[in-house]
């Protein structure tokens, strides 16, 4: 069985981000990590492999060369293969184009199950997973909190939807996006890290393979980032003075009503 995991390398929360003076680009401090939710996807793939044995896990990303490190982390955790589809000539923010490329790769490789995180921590868009499923014409389930493989070719998943929790039986091939709580992602062992250093990471040029789901060149994007800016800054905090906690609470409520006008 082939399990594909799509991951994204994202800027760490602590990374400094500088907006260029023309506001057209961002300079991001070189502190990157595997997207938080993608770790659950990788871990789940490994658990499927541990349960079913005859499973090959391929982790794939559409990214520039710096993402090699993120791929190595997933190998260290226990993935079998890692592929980087080079984004340097196709840099885009358009989820539709990214999904076209990843879906094309999935179609070319063949797969039984695709896992990814429920959203990326940098843009919080939550688009690419469901879009890939749509291109591939397979079902998807968003933000799963439990996965059990049933045979043959079926899986049972639990996910949270508006108003409650749903359990569904899904025919494979299918795509699931991982929610926190699906599992506890393992910390790679030193042997895993050693293996990851030696593992060759395949690099693919998206121009080199057929993309049956539509154009992927930058000109075909329907989205254009016009500018970046800093969020409006809050004035500095006003510490409420008072003799007793009750005095403070009283003053606060008065300010919230009269000044902030939120009561």
């Amino acid at each position: 069985m082939n399990v594909l995991v799509f991951v994204k390398q994202v800027a760490d929360t602590e990374a400094r981000i500088i907006i260029s003076s023309d506001q057209k680009s961002l300079e991001i401090e070189n502190k990157y990590v595997v997207n938080f939710f993608d770790e659950f996807a990788v871990e789940e793939a490994i658990r499927v492999k541990e349960a079913l044995k005859d499973v090959e896990i391929t982790v794939c990303t559409f990214a520039p060369a710096r993402a090699t490190e993120a791929l190595r982390t997933t190998i260290a955790m226990g993935a079998d293969k890692a592929v980087r589809i080079d984004s340097s000539k196709f840099e885009t923010d358009d989820p539709l184009i990214i999904a076209r490329i990843l879906a094309a790769y999935a179609k070319r490789e063949g797969f039984d199950l695709i896992l990814c995180g429920r959203q990326a921590m940098d843009d919080e868009s939550a688009n690419v997973g469901a879009m890939v499923a749509e291109f591939l014409n397979i079902p998807h389930v968003s933000q799963i909190s439990r996965l059990s493989m049933l045979d043959p070719g079926r899986a049972e998943v639990e996910n949270e939807i508006e108003g409650g929790k749903k359990v569904s039986e899904v025919a494979l091939p299918a795509l699931f996006t991982a929610q926190k709580g699906l599992n506890e992602p393992r910390v790679p062992l030193i042997t895993g890290v050693m293996k990851a250093m030696k593992t060759e990471i395949t690099v693919l040029d998206p121009a080199s393979f057929e993309t049956p789901f539509g154009a992927i060149d930058n000109g075909s994007s329907n989205i254009r980032v016009l500018s970046y800016e800093l969020p409006a800054k809050r004035p500095s905090v006003r510490i409420i003075e008072g003799q007793t906690p009750r005095d403070k609470a009283k003053s606060l409520v008065k300010l919230l009503g009269d000044e902030a006008k939120v009561l």
Binding site: T13, I19, M121, D123, R224, P231, I239
Partner: protein, 326 residues
């Protein structure tokens, strides 16, 4: 080309969600700018009552009411929404950045090769076009994104991004028949209704959030009381969720929910970036912490430096009194 606007309405307990009414108010401004029409679409079962409310905000309210649409599924709902979009030909389709919106819109965007911009918080006009405001990197940066001129725009917005305008003239209600396509690969085994909270965390105007400083699960009843008085909700930091004092559902922050209520009060929360990223867009932020150097004070409008266990009972009384007066 006319830039008609269509808003996908979500309901809770058969009534439109506040977030959907916000979108109609935003959609009205967009339609006015482009001299185009504003429509709303309601897809579900027993949604006719909601249509009467929605209709006071839109020119047309399209209702697809069918037993088979009782439980949301992306497959069935998207098949119906797709037909409506095809038939009415809007150039701008708006939805909420909710669990449903995030599940549904990407599939639809593929079918229309749309410009998909999700989790946005505002819009503006630039020349003849529309531009969408979207925070990146947990709100460290704001980006302005324009859809291609010929593309259909599909955009989802966070709840509390817009104010709800006054209802206006009644529009027209149009009932459409559904041609529901189910995905044969998915069989729903069970649906367990969650505890029906008064308001959704993301839609709440008031949030009081507890951190590790709350010390134990039972102390959250203090926060519940204040939440009830204010008609709002109780949130939690990750530490609290990891300690199992509260459900993951209540977690605010980078790996939880992003909220922007009118008023957020953080109690015993240090203000780690991961948490701040989930609440920084709140209109007014209050922090209660005994440590004057807690980072949360760097992000707050008002602060109380004191023991929360002495402040909160007093705050509860004061808020109650101010509520009763108004």
């Amino acid at each position: 080309m006319s830039k008609d606007v269509l808003v996908f309405i979500e309901c809770k307990d058969s009534m439109p969600r506040k977030a959907s009414l916000e979108l109609l108010s935003a959609g009205r401004q967009i339609a006015a700018k482009f001299s185009s029409g504003l429509s709303a679409v309601l897809i579900g079962s027993g949604v006719k009552r909601a249509a009467d409310v929605v209709n006071a905000y839109s020119d047309k309210t399209i209702v697809v009411d069918d037993e088979a649409l009782t439980d949301y599924g992306w497959d069935t709902t998207s098949s119906v929404l797709q037909d409506i979009v095809k038939k009415y030909g809007p150039m701008i389709v708006l939805g909420t950045s909710s669990m449903t919106g995030k599940d549904l819109f990407p599939r639809l965007a593929v079918r229309f090769e749309a410009a998909m911009i999700s989790d946005a918080v505002g819009f503006d006009f630039e020349g003849d076009g529309l531009k969408i405001k979207k925070p990146l990197y947990g709100g460290k940066v704001i980006s302005w994104i324009a859809p291609g001129t010929d593309a259909m725009l599909m955009a989802t917005f966070r709840p509390n991004s817009f104010a709800v305008s006054e209802p206006g003239q009644k529009g027209e209600i149009i009932e459409e028949q559904a041609n529901i396509r189910k995905n044969p690969g998915i069989k729903v085994i069970s649906f367990k209704k969650g505890e029906s909270k008064k308001v959704d965390l993301q839609e709440a105007d008031f949030i009081i959030c507890g951190g590790r400083g709350m010390k134990a699960a039972e102390h959250f009843s203090l926060l519940e009381d204040i939440g009830d008085i204010m008609g709002g909700r109780v949130g939690a930091s990750r530490t609290v969720v990891d300690s199992k004092w509260r459900d993951y559902d209540d977690q605010i922050g980078k790996s939880g929910k992003t909220v922007s209520p009118k008023l957020y009060i953080g109690c015993g929360i240090s203000g780690a970036l991961h948490h701040i990223m989930g609440m920084d867009t709140s209109k007014v932020i209050v922090a209660i912490n005994k440590d004057p150097n807690a980072p949360i004070f760097q992000y707050a409008d008002y602060g109380i430096v004191d023991d929360l266990f002495t402040v909160l009972p007093a705050l509860k009384d004061e808020l109650k009194e101010s509520r009763e007066e108004s």
